[in-house]
Symmetry: C2
Subunit: 96 residues, 2 copies
């Protein structure tokens, strides 16, 4: 599985409740011409991303399907300029 | 993506540090005839599973690759007999 660094229609999952990201994804998927969204998260937020995708699929958009799941490692530079490595996930959700 | 309920060579990730699951996976993959392992986790442990897979791939077994990632919802019955639904992940790691 390959990972493209800058995909369009990407939602970065942070520390908010999963429903916030479900709503963001729904909004994007309702736009004309948008066939898929990418739900992305790093480290401890990975479970929130998985939760958001499952909520989206099971409660809000019955015709949504998980097209692709990529897990990988990202190199980040923190406030002090130190490099640190975090795990990340990218879940591609598309309309059937 | 379909999910088989009882796959052989499955490691269930819990609350221990990721290295514990890396070691369990390495041990299994070194057994004769074992070509792949399934790293499985639920809820908050999903990030630990992703971390373990990345450690395995990048630090311990260079010829390991992520063959498949499934995310889904599981129905569990708790101590009080109540049913609750949790998100789960299954990551299939194979030797190249």
């Amino acid at each position: 599985m390959s990972v493209e660094p800058h995909r369009p229609n990407t939602i970065l999952v942070g520390r908010k409740p999963p429903i916030n990201y479900v709503m963001a994804a729904l909004k994007l998927l309702n736009e004309e011409g948008v066939e898929e969204v990418v739900i992305k998260a790093r480290g401890r937020n990975i479970c929130t991303a998985v939760e958001a995708v499952e909520m989206l699929k099971n409660l809000f958009l019955k015709n949504a399907e998980v097209k692709e799941v990529n897990i990988y490692r990202e190199e980040l530079v923190d406030d002090q300029g130190r490099q640190r490595s975090v795990t990340a996930i990218e879940i591609v959700v598309s309309k059937k």
